[in-house]
């Protein structure tokens, strides 16, 4: 069975880009455009990895990450934070909240794919 | 276990000694002796806490048993019905006199009840029976008992002398002796001065008085009732009343004879145990007041009785 990656971002082209790239890398991709109810979707889908945008309307990515990491069922799903917040403090905050990898925009889809595969391989 | 046994054993030993001593002379009341022996013994011990468990067991077992069986002692045999109201009057006035004088002297309620009971009914055994009902502590029980006892002994010696002195008639003397002296033994000794006939009649009065115990027990239960508390009648009182009724109705004299020593022994044990738990220091708390009260009330009663007889 193909590993399942879930991407949550409010920018449609980012979703499109990541979806295309990850599909090509042989992964199953679930995308979600809004953060509201994201955790429910995660529970339902039980993905192997989650890529999150930080700045989203409704619920911010960092809050979703916190929810995931404090839920014992979901805590071991790796979370990638994909964000335009490039400052060091932001990254520290992200890591503190349990983000497994912190990727700043703009990013290379190729490297993202590599990182995702590496993370899934480790698992 | 050792603790329980030690207290119980000592109580029993004291009871046995008292019981044996009581056979030497009619005035030697087993109950009074055992409580005093108990007190004397426990107060020479450096640490008597090890006795506590046993004492409690002894009280728990022997007091109810003694009280219950004491029911058989209440027989209303051969009573002159004419005398009954007079005896009852004496009893009631005695009880209330002691009670209110004690109150006037500011004694505690429990001591008041116990003193009144002891004086009006039958000394040691009545006190022993009433004490659990009003939940008096051992000091109250023992002080009342001793006071009643000393009065009884004094009366036993003094009554005949006074009777002689005032030239009291046989009938009157018998009545006075039977209705005012607290213990059977003392009545016997005192009444013997006027012959065996007198003894028998005095004892009859005494028995009549004892039968008022049933009445008193119920009264006490109500008197001692504390606020907001349901009236609580322990099982042994029920048995006591039932036995008393049974014995009197079915004339089971043999039962009385058999149960009398058992009852007395049980009560002696219980009182020994009570004595064991008494501290001299706390006995002295009320001082000489109870004695004065008793003397005062007895003087009033006696005067009243004399006057009564002279008027009649």
């Amino acid at each position: 069975m193909m590993p399942k990656v879930m991407v949550i971002d409010d920018e449609p082209f980012i979703l499109m880009m990541i979806e295309d790239k990850l599909r090509r890398g042989g992964l199953e991709v679930v995308t979600l455009r809004e953060s509201k109810g994201a955790v429910d979707v995660i529970r339902r889908e039980m993905p192997d990895l989650i890529i999150l945008d930080w700045m989203m309307p409704e619920i911010s990515g960092i809050n979703i990450c916190k929810t995931i990491k404090t839920d014992p069922d979901l805590a071991n799903i790796p979370v990638f934070m994909l964000t335009a917040k490039g400052q060091e403090d932001d990254e520290k905050l992200g890591i503190k909240c349990g983000v497994d990898r912190y990727i700043t925009k703009p990013f290379s889809p190729r490297i993202l794919l590599e990182l995702v595969l590496e993370q899934l391989g480790n698992k | 276990m050792v603790k329980k046994v030690s207290g119980l054993t000592i109580s029993l030993v004291i009871a046995v000694i008292a019981f044996i001593l009581s056979y030497i002379h009619p005035t030697f009341d087993a109950l009074a002796i055992s409580i005093i022996l108990g007190m004397l013994f426990s107060n020479i011990l450096e640490d008597r806490n090890f006795l506590n468990d046993g004492i409690n067991i002894a009280i728990k077992i022997f007091l109810p048993v003694g009280i219950a069986l004491y029911g058989t002692q209440l027989s209303i045999r051969d009573i002159d019905p004419a005398m009954t109201p007079l005896v009852f009057l004496t009893f009631i006035s005695m009880f209330s006199l002691v009670y209110f004088i004690a109150k006037w002297f500011g004694l505690r309620k429990n001591i008041r009840i116990l003193l009144a009971t002891g004086m009006s009914i039958c000394g040691a055994s009545a006190i022993a029976i009433v004490s659990p009902l009003i939940e008096s502590d051992s000091e109250e029980t023992s002080i009342s008992l001793i006071v009643v006892m000393i009065y009884g002994l004094f009366g036993m010696i003094a009554y005949p002398i006074f009777a002689n002195f005032f030239d009291v008639g046989v009938k009157e003397f018998t009545f006075i002796t039977g209705t005012t002296l607290p213990m059977i033994g003392q009545i016997k000794v005192a009444a013997s001065a006027y012959g065996t006939e007198s003894i028998a009649i005095a004892l009859k009065y005494k028995l009549l008085r004892m039968s008022f115990l049933i009445f008193l027990v119920t009264l006490t239960v109500f008197l001692s009732r504390k606020k907001d508390r349901r009236i609580y009648i322990p099982w042994f009182i029920v048995v006591f009343v039932l036995l008393a009724i049974t014995v009197n109705i079915f004339k089971l004299g043999w039962l009385s004879d058999i149960s009398a020593p058992i009852s007395r022994f049980s009560l002696a044990t219980a009182l020994a145990a009570i004595g064991l738990s008494v501290d001299f220091e706390s006995i002295t708390e009320e001082g000489i007041k109870p004695l004065i009260i008793v003397v005062l009330s007895i003087i009033i009663i006696l005067t009243a009785q004399f006057l009564l007889f002279y008027l009649i």
Binding site: P106, P109 | I146, I157
Partner: protein
């Protein structure tokens, strides 16, 4: 009343017992026995008991039975009695016991009740008494403990081995050691080695003798600092033996500090005294110098203290007031107050100098004058200048008066006698005479005289030329003076030698070409004629000569005189006017102007220049009229008539510059000038400047003209010099202040304690506090804690560092003030204060903040579109994407690229407006035209979305001035938003209304509306709200709109309901064209 004893109690107890027992017993026994005997008798009678033994048995048995009951009664009685009576004994014993327990437990406030008056009662009472005593003792102890605890001074108790046994809390407070740290350690642990040695020595010496001792010593506190203390030690003597010692340790920091401060202030005073250039002496009422500052020591020698002041300053053994001087010291001591005078003193070299002496009293605490402070300022220069000025003034007045005499009269005798009077008066002479040369007899004839006896005059009425002094002077034409004629060895024989005349001078009266006579002045005392006086006399001689000549030539030159009369008169008047002007005028330019005009007019010159001598090597042009030379400075080595005249000190006259080869006159030639005259202005030896007069005609100046010119120039010179002196003084004083006050930076000076000493105008402006409110206050009242940097720069700079920091003004609008502070060093390189320079950097900080703000948003907001561009491009480069997909990618890249570029341009607009660089370009706005232009741009999306766009403009229009480009941008953004955030087919209405004060632009749509939670953030940069997901945009549009409206001084209001639509109302006030 009665005293009970225990024995009575026992007695009573046993009595009660025995009575209670024996009474009933005896009765009972009697009765019983009686009964028994009766019984026995009955029995015996009945024969039942026949045996004596049996009787006995029976009897005893009966007895026993009776006794049994009695014994039981006895037992109970004994029992109860013992219980009740024991209570009577036990109660006090128990109370005692409890009391003792309580005392043992530390509670001393127990009072044991006394139950009886027996021994137990006594014991109890004694116990109570004991307790009371104990309590009192304890209280006393506690009080003592409290005293010790509340003592301000530290205290320690030390045993014989110098081990601390106890301390009080003050010890902890002062030295910081806890009690547990101190107790058990040696006292030497609290001293450093040096102090420990001192202490040990002291202790060894004194303690064993059991003496009290007091010593000052330093104790090391816990934080390591040395605290100066005064330890008062007293031995603790017990049973006649010293067992320890108590030390009361007084904190001497305060005292030490005071001593230090005293020293510092003394040093400070010394420094101040030493830094004053004037000599300062402190003198007691014995005229003895107690103290002298450096200046005084430099001036009067190092070892002047303890000497008398007059010895030092007057070289006199008596106080100066005895010499008739006005002694300020004496004044101070006799009258108090400050005295000021100018003394003639002698410096080390014995030279006479003038000293201004200011003496002020130094009072002791009772207000009595004990010493005098004398400040001596060397004012020799000043006095000299003053003298000079007054002398010049005197000379001028003299010359003036003489000139006026000459002017008023043409009779020689009258002139002479008047002049003689004036001269005598001016020079304080006793007499004088005037001799005129009689050409025919070649003799000098006395024409008038003063102060000489007739007899004398008759002999000396005629003197041959060459004979005697006047004769010689008349021949030589030189002034001759003698301070003491009788002892003058130059004169061997004279008529005046024997006439007691001592001071004497003889001055030639010079005519134009020859000596016309002489006049003499004399004094019966010695008189030394100074050069100035000689010069004056000479000038007077010349003047009188001129006047004499004039009178002489009066007749023969009548015609000429007639012609020149007016001019001469004018000349004299001018001269008079000039000299009176010069006497009074202070403004040099005016003086120069007057003089120059006078000279120009007098010489009928075409041009006049005045060159002032700047320094030894330069002449600077001060005044020019009629021509403007190319250079305004001349070096002394450049060849010109001016430099020549200045160097030589004489005038130079060139008749025709075309024929003169010495100087280059190219410039003058080109101006058509032909003759030139340069006249130096000389005072004494100094050349002060040069007048140059030029004419277009070739001419030589007559002697009288030159002469007049010379007089004018010398008068002018005096005035110039005086004016220069004034000028110099004024400039010196004003310059420093002027520089400070014209600086744009605030400057403020504080002393070492931080008290503001001075502040310039810019400091007042920047701090917003008047200078008189600043000076004298501590800086900490003015400055709050710095916004950046850890300490106040003033504090740092007072420690000798350079420092700077930024403060935020709290009183004002929160301006940021940059302060840099520098220490001020005195001559001994010690810090004597600090100088602060303030700069208002508010606007710089504001611009900085805005810059970072924009950079931060940009770097953040640009990342998202950049992600698309970078990521999708990378995927395209990696290839293997079907064309449909690739097209979509490229489209996204394009769109995001456009968004990025839009963002950049809008951001630029915003930052331009915000930074204030963008100025508003006002023009009359025709909104209908503007709306048409906007509508044409939006045509495409409007038709695409099938939107109905209505416009409505009031018909009554008014002139509205605004920035067209910006208003267009505003409308474009508002309409674009309305279109963007609406469903196809919706309605948009744009309305323009002209009210009295405002133009109101209203854009309303029936679009999606704005959710309430977005309202607050609408005009934030890059904020895109809930609908931002559905549309493309930058999040800068409304922010820009807001800025545009702001620079038009208008306001923007947004009303919106979700799903119903949005209305944006922009209110712009009218403004005139020149408002911008």
């Amino acid at each position: 009343m009665f005293k009970t004893k225990l024995i009575y109690k026992f007695l009573i107890t046993f009595l009660i017992f025995s009575i209670a027992l024996i009474l009933p017993l005896s009765f009972s026994l009697r009765k019983d026995m009686k009964g028994m005997f009766t019984n026995l008798e009955v029995l015996i009678e009945k024969g039942k008991l026949n045996d004596a033994r049996a009787i006995e048995d029976k009897f005893f048995k009966e007895i026993f039975t009776h006794l049994m009951s009695i014994s039981f009664y006895a037992f109970f009685l004994a029992f109860i009695l013992s219980i009740f009576f024991s209570r009577r004994f036990l109660k006090p014993v128990k109370a005692l016991y409890n009391g003792a327990e309580a005392v043992k437990g530390g509670n001393l406030d127990t009072e044991i009740p006394v139950f009886s008056a027996d021994e137990l009662g006594e014991v109890t009472m004694i116990f109570n008494e004991m307790l009371t005593n104990l309590r009192a003792k304890t209280e006393e102890l506690q009080n003592k403990d409290t005293y010790v605890k509340t003592m301000m001074d530290a205290l320690w108790v030390v045993d014989t081995n110098d081990i601390v046994i106890d301390i009080n809390p003050a010890f902890t407070k002062i030295f910081g050691y806890e009690r547990s740290q101190v107790v058990g350690s040696s006292i030497y642990d609290f001293f450093d080695t040096e102090n420990a040695m001192v202490m040990k020595k002291e202790l060894d010496l004194k303690r064993h003798r059991g003496e009290h001792s007091t010593y000052e010593i330093n104790i090391t506190a816990q934080d390591g600092s040395q605290i100066p203390v005064l330890i008062t030690g007293a031995p603790i003597v017990r049973d006649g033996e010293v067992v320890g010692k108590i030390g009361i340790i007084k904190d001497f920091r305060e005292q030490a500090k005071l001593v230090k401060e005293l020293k510092e202030s003394r040093d400070y005073l010394e420094t101040i005294m030493n830094s004053i250039e004037d000599s300062i002496l402190i003198i007691n009422n014995d005229y003895r110098i107690l103290k002298a500052n450096v200046a005084a020591r430099t001036r009067y020698g190092n070892n002047i203290t303890e000497k008398k002041c007059h010895e030092i300053t007057h070289n006199s053994s008596r106080p100066c007031w005895m010499e008739g001087e006005d002694c300020p010291i004496q004044g101070v001591f006799t009258n108090g107050g400050t005295w000021r005078t100018i003394h003639e003193h002698y410096d080390e070299g014995g030279n006479k100098c003038y000293v201004e002496v200011i003496a002020s009293p130094i009072r002791n605490s009772e207000g009595k004058v004990v010493e005098a402070l004398e400040i001596m300022r060397d004012v020799t220069e000043r006095v000299r200048h003053m003298d000079e000025i007054s002398r010049r003034n005197r000379e001028l007045i003299l010359l003036n008066s003489i000139a006026s005499i000459i002017n008023q009269s043409i009779k020689a005798e009258e002139i002479f006698s008047s002049v003689l009077d004036r001269l005598m008066e001016a020079l304080d002479m006793d007499g004088g005479c005037v001799f005129l040369i009689d050409d025919k007899s070649r003799t000098l004839r006395c024409s008038c005289h003063r102060g000489v006896s007739e007899q004398c005059t008759s002999t000396a009425i005629r003197i041959k030329l060459g004979d005697d002094i006047p004769g010689r002077v008349a021949v030589t034409g030189e002034v001759m003076t003698s301070s003491n004629l009788s002892s003058d060895n130059r004169i061997s024989k004279s008529l005046f030698k024997d006439t007691k005349i001592k001071g004497y001078c003889c001055v030639p009266v010079k005519g134009k070409e020859r000596v016309l006579g002489v006049y003499c002045l004399f004094k019966f005392k010695e008189h030394f004629f100074t050069i100035e006086e000689e010069r004056l006399l000479e000038a007077v001689g010349e003047m009188t000569g001129l006047a004499l000549e004039n009178t002489r030539l009066y007749d023969e030159m009548k015609e000429m005189f007639e012609i020149q009369k007016s001019r001469r008169l004018q000349e004299q008047r001018d001269l008079l006017e000039l000299s009176s002007k010069l006497t009074s005028a202070r403004d040099m330019d005016e003086v120069i102007h007057c003089t120059s005009s006078l000279i120009k007019e007098f010489l009928a010159a075409d041009a006049i220049l005045f060159w002032e001598k700047r320094d030894s090597n330069t002449l600077a042009l001060r005044y020019s009229d009629g021509m403007q030379p190319q250079t305004d400075t001349l070096k002394m080595d450049e060849p010109s008539t001016e430099t020549y005249a200045a160097a030589k000190g004489t005038y130079i006259n060139i008749h025709d510059i075309n024929t003169d080869a010495r100087f280059l006159f190219e410039e003058l030639k080109s101006m058509g000038l032909r003759s030139i005259l340069s006249m130096p202005v000389i005072v004494g030896e100094n050349v002060l400047g040069v007048f140059t007069a030029m004419a277009r005609t070739s001419r030589g100046y007559r002697d009288d003209e030159i002469h007049f010119l010379r007089i004018i120039s010398s008068i002018f010179g005096v005035a110039l010099e005086r004016s220069q002196l004034y000028e110099k003084r004024r400039i010196d004083r004003g310059l420093a202040e002027a520089i400070l006050n014209t600086m744009s930076e605030g400057v403020c000076t504080v002393d070492t304690k931080g008290v503001i000493v001075s502040a310039n105008r810019s400091a007042e402006r920047i701090l917003g506090i008047q200078a008189n409110n600043l000076v004298g206050r501590n800086y900490s009242e003015i400055f709050n804690a710095p916004a950046e940097g850890d300490a106040c720069p003033i504090v740092k700079s007072l420690k000798g560092e350079k420092a700077s920091a930024e403060f935020i003004q709290q009183k004002g609008k929160g301006e940021v003030i940059h302060v840099s502070s520098l220490p001020l060093m005195d001559s001994a390189n010690r810090i004597c204060g600090a100088v602060q320079v303030f700069r208002d950097v508010t606007s710089e900080r504001e611009i900085d903040r805005m810059k970072t703000d924009i950079i931060r948003s940009v770097s953040h907001e640009f990342r998202t579109p950049l992600s698309a561009i970078v990521g999708l491009t990378e995927m395209l480069i990696d290839g293997d994407i079907e064309s449909e997909r690739a097209r979509k990618y490229l489209l996204t890249i394009y769109e995001e690229g456009m968004r990025l570029s839009e963002m950049v341009s809008e951001l630029l607009s915003i930052s331009k407006i915000e930074s204030g660089k963008e100025t508003i370009k006002l023009s009359n706005i025709d909104f209908s035209e503007l709306i048409e232009s906007v509508k044409s741009v939006l045509d495409a999306p409007v038709t695409k979305k099938n939107i109905s766009l209505f416009t409505e403009i009031d018909t009554e229009r008014q002139e509205f001035y605004g920035d067209r480009e910006k208003l267009r941008q505003l409308l474009l953004n508002l309409l674009d938003n309305a279109i963007k955030y609406s469903d196809p087919g919706c309605y948009i209405n744009l309305r323009v209304r002209y009210s009295d004060k405002y133009v109101i632009l209203e854009v309303s749509d029936t679009g999606w509306g704005i959710p309430e939670n977005d309202m607050a953030n609408l005009s934030k940069r890059f904020y895109r709200g809930t609908h931002g997901e559905r549309t493309k945009g930058t999040g800068l549009g409304l922010a820009l709109c807001k800025d545009i409206v702001r620079i038009h001084h208008g306001r923007i209001d947004i009303k919106s309901r979700l799903t119903k639509g949005t209305t944006v109302i922009v209110t712009l006030p009218y403004r005139r064209l020149n408002d911008a």
